[in-house]
């Protein structure tokens, strides 16, 4: 494939290198002269100097025959314009735009620029996954098998402390499999009474986390979601 990458910052430079390693033909366009000279020492003729929002710079880079344009500059307006022009004027089939400020994502959508990638959004999503509310931690994700094992710490405000396991109406597709108390684990029975500070392990179908959170969190009523 012939791929034009715009913006030779850390993202663009590494991306261009990886794409070249995979055997693609790549032109990396950079508008800052000094940055261009630095990158050119490594990528040589694969990097081109110019402002890619100038149409003639894109044409000089051969945008008419490009299979893909990836705009990863630090400026969202530039990325939007370059991708819009690539797709609508030069009929490039595939575009990818970098979103620097996640608040600008609606603008990318409005102008039909898809897909757009925001590192901030990705990290936020990971953060939610890794550090969720109510101390819900993913211990194991079996993607193929469509099962997850999670761990929850029962805080003072949890609505299930002091209740019998048998009285909880666990959401469908979830099962309490273990309780860790004072450093020791055991398999709960229906008569096990949950205590503050217990760490409970549950196995569940993907997507059942919110139901479990509703059940075990401070707002929960212990009656399932």
């Amino acid at each position: 494939m012939y791929i034009i990458v715009v913006g030779a910052g850390k993202v663009g430079w590494n991306l261009a290198r990886e794409l070249l390693d995979k055997g693609h033909e790549v032109t990396l366009i950079e508008s800052d002269r000094r940055r261009y000279l630095t990158v050119e020492q490594e990528l040589e003729h694969n990097v081109s100097y110019g402002d890619a929002s100038e149409l003639w710079v894109l044409e000089r880079a051969g945008i008419q025959r490009a299979d893909m344009v990836i705009a990863v500059t630090g400026d969202d307006e530039d990325n939007m314009l370059i991708c819009q022009v690539a797709r609508e004027k030069y009929l490039v089939e595939r575009i990818i735009a970098r979103v620097n400020n996640p608040r600008n994502r609606p603008h990318f959508d409005l102008l039909g620029i898809k897909p757009s990638v925001s590192a901030t959004d990705l990290i936020l999503r990971l953060l939610e996954h890794e550090v969720p509310e109510y101390g819900l931690v993913h211990l194991l994700d079996l993607q193929e098998e469509q099962l997850e094992i999670i761990e929850m710490l029962l805080g003072k405000d949890s609505s299930v402390t002091g209740r019998r396991v048998g009285d909880l109406s666990m959401p469908e597709g979830s099962l309490l499999i273990s309780v860790l108390r004072s450093g020791k684990g055991f398999v709960p029975t229906a008569d096990t009474v949950l205590e503050e500070g217990d760490e409970v392990l549950a196995v569940l179908d993907p997507g059942k986390e919110d139901d479990l959170k509703a059940l075990f969190g401070p707002e929960g009523n212990g009656d399932g979601g």
Partner: protein, 154 residues
Amino acid sequence: MFVLIVGCGRVGSSVARAMLREGHEVSCLDEDPESHARLEVGLEKSWEDLGGHFTVGAGLETEALVAAGIERADAFIASTDGDNTNIVIAQIAQKRYQVPTVIARVLDPLRAEWYQRQGLHTVCPTSVAIDMLEGAVRAGAENGRGSDDPAAAA
């Protein structure tokens, strides 16, 4: 008419004053709080006393655009110092807020021409300058150096 001008530099502020003088309601949006002073150049009263509005914020920020009144704007002028910013925010005004009259200042003639063809009203000061310069040179060429010019006679 309610006119919203984003980018209050020399061009934006002049257009803003002219529109206000003609009796329109005018709102300006600029990232730089200092640009408010440029609005008041040559005015006897403050911009606000004369009925103008001024909001500090970036043209790409939805909250700023709404605060500056984009939802009730009859005309929208994008005159920041960035061509790409102007092209993008003008399209937002057109497509998202359905502002009836949208104009973008674009310095690059190639981009101005292409977006004009896509249905965006662009004004390109560079093209105007090129035309004027060419015209001025042609007018000068007709005169040439007169025969009363001692250098030409030599």
